[in-house]
């Protein structure tokens, strides 16, 4: 009797252990490999994020949390963003250092006073036909990456980056108004990132 039960349990646990292996592979591929810290750029005074790279470092994705303290300009804001960047070009500056030009887009969710994804019930439906809290933010940037001395073992490196970004709505304004100039809609941000594995 007990032998039969044990046999059934072993048979049943087979797929489970296979799934655990898949889960382990998935978590290995999905776990973040990059830590990022950014100054300005519509996400807050300071924002921090975790991300990872794909397709031989050509694509990077990040989940970023940003904060603008109320003490800075009297407006407290927090943001949560999903950002993806794609490499345009890359060139070696030295053996351990390279320069990369990239473009990206972030979807920024703003949590601050009087902005909404869904407007409160006292507004008639479709009074505002766009959310004021959610915006897409295209960007173009440059980064310099230094590989650590033990890069071959650790795969770790440091990166400094600077980028220009804007907001979807500003781009629409630029397209609809000849009087707006291209530099009017862009703003600058800086940051550092650390690839730790």
């Amino acid at each position: 009797m007990w032998n039969k039960i044990l046999s059934i349990l072993i048979i049943l646990s087979g797929p489970l252990s296979l799934n655990a292996e898949k889960l382990s592979m998935f978590s290995k591929n999905a776990l973040p490999t990059i830590f990022l810290m950014q100054y300005a750029g519509n996400m807050g005074l300071i924002s921090i994020g975790l991300g990872r790279e794909f397709n031989r470092n050509k694509i990077e994705t990040f989940l970023i949390y940003g904060v603008l303290p109320n003490q800075v300009n009297g407006v407290g804001a927090q943001t949560l963003s999903l950002k993806a960047t794609g490499r345009i070009t890359q060139s070696l500056i030295s053996r351990d250092c390279n320069l990369k030009i990239y473009t990206g887009i972030a979807v920024i969710s703003n949590f601050t006073n009087n902005v909404h994804l869904n407007f409160p019930d006292y507004y008639p439906s479709s009074y505002y036909d766009f959310p004021t809290s959610l915006h897409a933010a295209p960007s173009i940037g440059a980064s310099i990456t230094w590989k650590q001395r033990d890069y071959i073992q650790t795969n770790s490196s440091y990166t400094l980056f600077a980028e220009f970004s804007t907001i979807d709505y500003y781009l629409i304004n630029l397209l609809n108004n000849k009087s707006m100039k291209f530099p009017d809609i862009w703003n600058l941000s800086f940051g550092v990132s650390w690839k730790f594995r």
Partner: protein, 260 residues
């Protein structure tokens, strides 16, 4: 050596980028703007300009939103007029209440050769728009006098102001007295935001006070309505490429719409 040159290049490029771009934005809804009190500054220009005149001409534009080309053309067209005392913008100078939008509006509006007074609209409340408006232009409800006329600007936004009541007590106070009074409010009395108790309160104040005219924006179309024995004018949005010239003579007002 190569390394040093590379670093130098990077520093030079970064400096160029900063000087060309020049701007840092922490958040779309930030209020990184110093106190300018532009409405008071422009009001002081009006008073010194026309204090002795017994008739008064002024222009009203409304709902400029993100129609910057139309605003630019409107200001150019207004600048060709003569014998104007001032220009009123009847609210909604933004779409999202973002600080950049206020700056872009003012960059064009300030080219008016006549003093320009800006009032708040419901869109300007979104985000931290009210704070930006306060810092850039001043109070959202205000009044000033020119000769025998009193111009009252009543902030009557309800929903975007956290669904709170406009300050009708302030309005009632401002509309008492002997001067010829001209009222500006962004949202018409019959509009959905005013519906119910606010409309009744607004009506009773207008019935109890003598006014020359009431001017609104908000509806994006021109309208003239007789109500409370007063003509209520709605000024269409700037995208319709029109503005209104108002002529005040004694206690009467006449309005002419001009296409540009």
């Amino acid at each position: 050596m190569f390394w040093n040159k590379s670093i130098q290049k990077v520093i030079i490029y970064c400096s160029m980028v900063v000087s060309i771009g020049g701007c840092i934005s922490y958040n779309l809804y930030d209020a990184d703007i110093s106190s300018s009190n532009l409405n008071n500054k422009n009001i002081s220009r009006i008073s010194s300009n026309i204090f002795t005149k017994d008739t008064l001409n002024f222009v009203i534009i409304a709902d400029t939103h993100n129609n910057y080309d139309d605003l630019k053309d409107a200001i150019r067209s207004i600048n060709q007029l003569t014998d104007l005392s001032f220009v009123i913008c009847c609210g909604d100078v933004t779409l999202l209440g973002a600080e950049d939008e206020f700056k872009w509006y003012w960059d064009l509006a300030k080219k008016s050769k006549f003093p320009i007074i800006t009032m708040i609209g419901n869109h300007d409340y979104l985000g931290s728009g009210k704070l930006v408006f306060n810092r850039l232009f001043g109070l959202t409800s205000f009044s000033f006098q020119v000769g025998e006329y009193k111009f009252v600007f009543f902030d009557n936004t309800v929903w975007e102001n956290n669904n709170t009541s406009p300050d009708f007590y302030w309005l009632n106070e401002q509309l008492s007295g002997d001067k010829n009074k001209v009222l500006f409010a962004h949202i018409p009395i019959w509009s959905d935001q005013m519906e119910g108790k606010y409309e009744q309160r607004f009506d009773s104040i207008l019935n109890n006070n003598i006014l020359t005219s009431v001017f609104y924006g908000h509806e994006h179309s021109n309208k003239d309505v007789m109500r409370n024995n007063i003509t209520h004018y709605v000024i269409g949005n700037i995208a319709d490429r029109q503005f209104a010239i108002v002529k005040l003579i004694g206690s009467t007002a006449s309005l002419k719409r001009i296409s540009f």
